[in-house]
Amino acid sequence: MEDLKTEIKEKVIEALKLADITPSDIDDEAPLFGEGLGLDSIDALELMLLLEKNYGIRLANPAEGKKVFVNVNTMAQYVADNRTR
């Protein structure tokens, strides 16, 4: 699970072009949206694409994403439970 979390952090940083941030800067529990990393609605859509591209998970809509993209822990758990590759 720790490896998956680090992998997800790396992919998030790459997909969202978060300059000057390394995986160790992102707390597993810190909220991804709002204050945290300052992500917006386009980032949320990009995270949905990240899940599809890397783990074969298709979310129906951004509303569903809200539950998944709370923080790195919730994302990792969702990927572990639902990944098809």
Binding site: L16, A19, E46, L49
Partner: protein, 202 residues
Amino acid sequence: MKYSSSVRVTPSGIVLNEKRLAFASSGEDLLVEAYRKQIGDWPKFFKMDPLSKAGFVSSELLLSSEEPRKHDCEDRAVILYNRSGSLADDRIYEGTIRSKEEFYPSPAVFVYTLPNILTGEIAIRNKYYGETSFSVLEEFDPTTMIHGLESAFLDPMTASAIFGWVECGSEDDFDVCLFLVHKEGEGLKDFDEKEFLRIWKI
């Protein structure tokens, strides 16, 4: 029309108000270096497409000498032109959907497939609520552009404009010439086609 500052940005260097700025890098790295040294507080820069990166850095440098720097206003327009529209980003987006097998259309790339996203980025950064407009020409054509600028000043709200050419063919291929133009202003230099061309040729 008058102008208070100008900036010329190409992959080989930056000339602000007719003075060459000292940077070590070139190409896309030049924009990053200029961002880090002169701007630094707008991490959204790294999410921008090549056109917006070039235009955003140029506009920030152009405004750096404005004292006090205008913020939260409706009387400043952003009137930009180029040749390639958003083709630099269009090609990147096409890459995300090229094959049926590897079909992952990226929303973060797609959103930049419109050149007027750049005018929006400048408006957001400076809280400019005024007119924003992007037009595409077949080639660099100061006559047509100055016509367009004169026309834009017909809006009674518009007193000044970030105006000019922001061409970008790819990450390392950009050519920018921007002016901060005022409808009127005492003690400022006249702005016309001749002056535009003089700065363009620097």
